[in-house]
Amino acid sequence: MDQPVTHKPVTWDTSKMDVKRVVDVIRVTPETNTSRTPVDKAPDPELGHDVIPAERYYSEAFMKLEWEHIWTKVWLLGGRADDIPNPGDYICTEIGKESVLIVRQHDGSLRCFPNVCLHRGNRLRPEGIGNAQMFRCMYHHWTYGLDGKIDRLPDLCTFPQGGPPGMTLPSLPVTEWNAFVWFSLNPDVEPFDDYIAPLKDHLEPYHPERMAWKRDVTVEWDCNWKASVDAFNETYHVQGIHPQLQWYLDDVNVQIDCYERHNRYLIPFAAISPRVAMPSTIPPAIDEIMRHAGMDPADYEGRVSDIRRDVQLFKRKHGKAQGKDYSALNDDQLTDDYHYMIFPNVALNVHADDIMMFRQRPHASDPNKMLYDVWVFELVPEGEPWPERVKHRRFKHGERSIGQVLDQDAYNLPTVQAGMKSESFPGLWIGEQELRIRHFHKVLDDYIYGPGQKQPGDM
């Protein structure tokens, strides 16, 4: 493992790009990989070069198609399992016009119900997490047990037709995986294991259950949810909107892997982009990585270009003493950003010490708006107390900063959304570095129009 062979997981010719140097990144190879997370380069799918129609970003008709064929059909991320450890703990979360309750049962299992009183349609709970012995509607006190059954229907005798069918809220599919809870609005959804494949092997080694909430923010963005998914599905924008990250990561030597419906890219972190001249002093953000690993940057005698590998070796050597068990991860995972997209709307930056993930939800009625959830979790070293859960905050785009990098990501999205509607803009002109965008839209097409059934002229 000390001398991993360099292999070539990057499909484009980096020497012809707008770069100052050609960098041969030291990488873990399939042969040297020690993690269950595979590093194999997946063959690139043949997805053509067509424009991706802009109309799908603002059309209400397309939004309706998405609702019918995607949001009500697939598995969706509901929240963190450790937010609901005890019977009666619940997560109330919204997707589009729907709201669901995910409830911990007395036997430890989970149930999921629509968050709606069967009497007059009132919401049973506001969005958020909480604990309840029962769910009593605030309107006429219809009362539901943790299992969704109607325990009390005041003056039942005045309903000659009796109570609603089965005297219970409908049950929706729900499951727990890798510290998160997942639900579906589709009673006939495929098994979760089939849906999430092949990502169980990829993501379980990160042990998210050892990580605690660090940030929980929801921002209302003025763009279609897919504009946000696209924004995080390529590294091409780093040189455009995140110039500072060029002294933090290698946005050129990126491996892209597309699977059946999910995809990922692997970005070397603690590295200098080949787009900028190699500095002789340690950049501030890489200095930060070294300190976080327990290294003293002032004591570092190597070259800036050696830091990524040296951080890996240092973490491998000292992680255990720091209460950090990296045994399930390969060396690259100790520094790099393995970035996953779980179809349709979850983006995860998974790292050895933290996970920064985004859930990108459509607005209930307006294709020009969305909800952007930022969830950050940090590894709690063994022996350290589990921190108190951070409070959820919610605001509108631009009201508050969500950090320099995410502010930069957010900055263009409203104008992207506006520009999409121009009659001079037929659609997205996508390059190889943006293959994941093309793949995401292909999966979307297959859900909406049927596999391979999208016709010319379709949105």
Binding site: A277, P297, A298
Partner: protein
Amino acid sequence: MDLGLQGKKAIVVGGARGIGYAVAEILAREGADVAISARGEDSVKDAVAALSRYGTRVVGKPCNVKKADDYKALLEWAIEALEGVDVLIPLSSAGGGMGSEKYWHNAFETDVMGPVRAIEAVIPVMTQRKSGSIVLVATTSALEAMGGPQAYNAMKASLITYGKQLALAHGKDGIRVNVVSPGPIEFEGGNWDMIKGTMEKFYQSQLRQQPMGRLGRPEEVARAIVFLASEAASWCSGSHLVVDGAFTNRTHF
């Protein structure tokens, strides 16, 4: 004006990039033989190749100034390779940094002992020839409070004092010693290039403080250094020249 550098032999420590490279380039262009050194093997190789186009003798070797024995050997090698030494410009630096005591050791070893050890190596040769010129490179960060309390500023300040003392002590040997303090200098791969990319607002605030609305370029400092190093500056010794585009506020009485 003839700088009188034709055929002179110059050692530039930290001569592979930035101000140091610009100094080495002007020296070579003016007809001097040049020996350079720097940390990076590749960067020294590239610099030697580039400097050789001026047709003088250009040699170089990588060296970590902090490794005293290696460094002494490097200096001896350079003097031997050049068959003497007329000009010494030692300007390698450990750079800034706060939050670790180690930065003090780094700055002391590189920014102070780098020049000190080089001077000790060349003084006997220059004394014997009754001729020599040394230019030390400090910083405007030594003159005014900049960048927070850190080793870099304090250690660089010591060179200004040391340079004057050297000039007084070695005038009788025909050796001149001067100090140049550059303000912020920008070049590709340099700190300000990185700051421009990583801390855009801070960079812009620096620009606003600059009377000429920009940062300096390596060759603008290098020309001043080479002038002081040259025969053209034969009556300059013990001087301290601030080359900062009027950036510092203090009045230099």
